[in-house]
């Protein structure tokens, strides 16, 4: 019977059925790894989707960076003057982290919840709702990490990374992905049908366009600046841009904290909601 400890190849020697209650209950148990494993199984057969996402950043950087910079001259950021591609690259990295995270956590999650009923089977095994949430988040971060890595390679190759601080952009991009993934999942648990996605898009598209990704915040009137500052994407863009340029300010700690808290609240909400939806 399955009560015999089964050595888990991914995590060494922990025994099979003793549930390890992690102190941070939000992280689920060690079994959350199997949720990641499931996604690996799925994408093993459709790796083309992963690859397409991998090349996307090159197209973005090339088209917007090179194309626009012939029209837009150097920009002043704080005390510095930087070329447009250097200005826009960290903003695009943050936006791409957001987009990737949202795709997984909204469309994909909705499909799994409403149509594929993927988790019904998972929850009849020792996995818990916390494991499901943690595992899906883990997968989302793995994928975002892959894309962020490709993006940063593209940045480096095109000479858009200003300082070696730019390496720090990698964990920061993951933080952005974490926050949006969590909020995306929490939001998705409230959606009733595909039509509700219109509402989601209504929130995402303006945020993407207005969040100082493509031009500095200073072009907006004061009231709009105040609104934009509140959006999570702006927080991410400001964090990554400051890091990329090596111009650190205390406000950036605030941006990071904002994203981290948003992510944790989103995770907790997702867990509570999924518990109610999946285990009525």
């Amino acid at each position: 019977m399955s009560t015999t400890p089964a050595g888990d190849t991914t995590r060494g020697t922990t025994s099979g059925t003793t549930l390890r209650i992690t102190p941070a209950a939000l992280l689920g148990s060690r079994r959350a790894v199997h949720m990641v494993e499931r996604n690996v199984y799925v994408y093993r057969r459709s790796w083309i989707f992963l690859v397409s996402g991998f090349f996307e950043p090159f197209f973005y950087l090339l088209s917007i960076g090179i194309g626009m910079s012939s029209l837009v001259g150097p920009l002043r950021v704080g005390a510095e003057t930087v070329a447009y591609p250097v200005f826009v690259a960290p903003g695009l990295l943050a936006s791409s982290a957001m987009n990737g995270a949202l795709f997984d956590s909204t469309f994909n999650l909705f499909h799994k919840l409403k149509f594929a009923h993927t988790y019904d089977a998972v929850l009849s095994t020792p996995l818990t709702v916390a494991d499901v949430v943690a595992g899906e988040m883990g997968w989302s971060l793995l994928r975002s990490g892959l894309y962020a890595l490709s993006f940063m390679c593209a940045m480096a190759a095109l000479g858009d990374a200003r300082t070696s601080w730019a390496a720090l952009c990698y964990p920061e991009a993951l933080l952005v992905a974490f926050a949006f993934s969590a909020v995306g999942m929490a939001t998705t648990t409230y959606l009733r049908g595909w039509r509700d996605f219109e509402m989601v898009m209504l929130a995402i598209v303006p945020m993407f366009l207005f969040s100082a990704t493509f031009y500095p915040l200073s072009v907006y009137p004061g009231w709009l600046q105040a609104v934009v500052r509140l959006t999570p994407l702006y927080q991410g863009v400001a964090l990554l841009r400051g890091t990329d340029l090596g111009s650190f300010q205390w406000a950036m700690a605030g941006h990071a904290a904002y994203l981290a808290i948003l992510g944790l609240v989103g995770l907790a909400a997702t867990r509570a909601r999924l518990g109610r939806l999946l285990l009525p």
Partner: protein
């Protein structure tokens, strides 16, 4: 194979009413178990225990609360009242440890549609922390059993309904559970697959696996179940071994009469006095009696000419009809 499945050991000692001692060893103990969905009470306070090695059946019409009960036992739905212990543990706090020893065949197939047939089994095993090599080995042998080896590399979506059902059942066995919960396992199976499953369940029982089955097929219940309950409106209408239930709630034999027109059937209602009890269904009359042939002779003597007539033994279906006023399978 059918013959093997028929060899259900008769009245197991514990079947009638488990003794006080049975409670300590019981795998599932429910006391006043309640499930509410908002204001609606789906399960209205039921008591039962399931002892190791038995096959316990839940019968009941649609909406009786069978699935709700199964889901509470599988720790997939919190109880709204009463107490429930599964494998000596509390589903509210020990869900993962309980589920590690359960095999579940849900009423609705919940296969992973994005994966192949084989990967469904392997991955499900992985959820139970079964090492990959072992998972592959078990998956291969279960595919054999489910007669799906040829479809191993196909996407689940391309399987027929019955094949999906077989895969779901195979999947429930991959963790080699101590307690197997089957919610209408044979729905959608063809007769051959159904008999194969009965045979397999019978062998699992012999190996010591405890079975919990819900079904709408009374011959299935009669063959497989040592004890069963008949559930209606969230409560137990009766419980006991199949033979006990038939003995208690029905007569030895039944005469079934079909008439050409509703009018003729209406006239025939006077036949009620020839039997112990009469049930009138839309398309036929059932006369319950100890001696079917004698009643049939009396029917003829009185000059009735049904288009079809049948004398048969009482089954659980008759018990069910008596208790719930409904038929098991419409």
């Amino acid at each position: 194979m059918v013959a093997a499945a028929r060899g259900t050991p008769g009245a197991v000692a514990s079947a009638a009413a488990p003794s006080a001692g049975a409670q300590d060893t019981a795998l599932v103990v429910a006391r006043g178990l309640v499930k509410r969905f908002g204001q609606f009470t789906a399960v209205g306070g039921i008591d039962f225990e399931i002892v190791p090695g038995e096959c316990f059946g839940f019968l009941g019409p649609n909406g009786a609360g069978k699935t709700s009960t199964m889901r509470m036992i599988s720790c997939m739905s919190p109880a709204s009242g009463g107490t429930l212990r599964v494998l000596g543990m509390d589903p509210a706090t020990d869900g993962p440890r309980i589920r590690a020893r359960l095999g579940l065949v849900p009423q609705e197939d919940s296969l992973d549609l994005e994966l192949t047939v084989l990967d469904n089994l392997i991955l499900y095993a992985r959820y139970f922390d079964i090492p990959k090599a072992e998972a592959r080995r078990r998956a291969a042998s279960l595919l054999e059993l489910a007669q799906l080896s040829e479809r191993a590399r196909d996407k689940v979506e391309s399987l027929s309904g019955g094949m999906k059902r077989r895969l779901t059942i195979a999947r429930a066995l991959v963790s080699q559970p101590d307690l197997l919960i089957l919610d209408e396992p044979t729905t959608g199976l063809d007769p051959q697959a159904r008999h194969l499953l009965w045979d397999r369940l019978y062998r699992l029982k012999q190996e010591g696996v405890t079975l919990l089955v819900t079904t709408h097929y009374m011959e299935e219940a009669e063959q497989l179940c040592d004890r069963l309950v008949i559930m209606d409106h969230g409560r137990f209408a009766a419980h006991g071994t199949p033979l006990e239930l038939i003995g208690r709630y029905s007569t030895r034999e039944v005469v079934e009469l079909r008439f050409a027109t509703p009018r003729e059937q209406a006239d025939a209602l006077a036949l009620g006095e020839t039997a112990q009890r009469m049930e009138v269904l839309p398309d036929r009359i059932l006369l319950y009696t100890a001696d079917g042939d004698a009643v049939l002779a009396e029917v003829h003597r009185r000059g009735y000419a049904p288009v079809s007539e049948l004398v048969r033994r009482s089954t659980l279906e008759d018990v069910f009809l008596r208790l719930t006023g409904r038929r098991l399978v419409d």
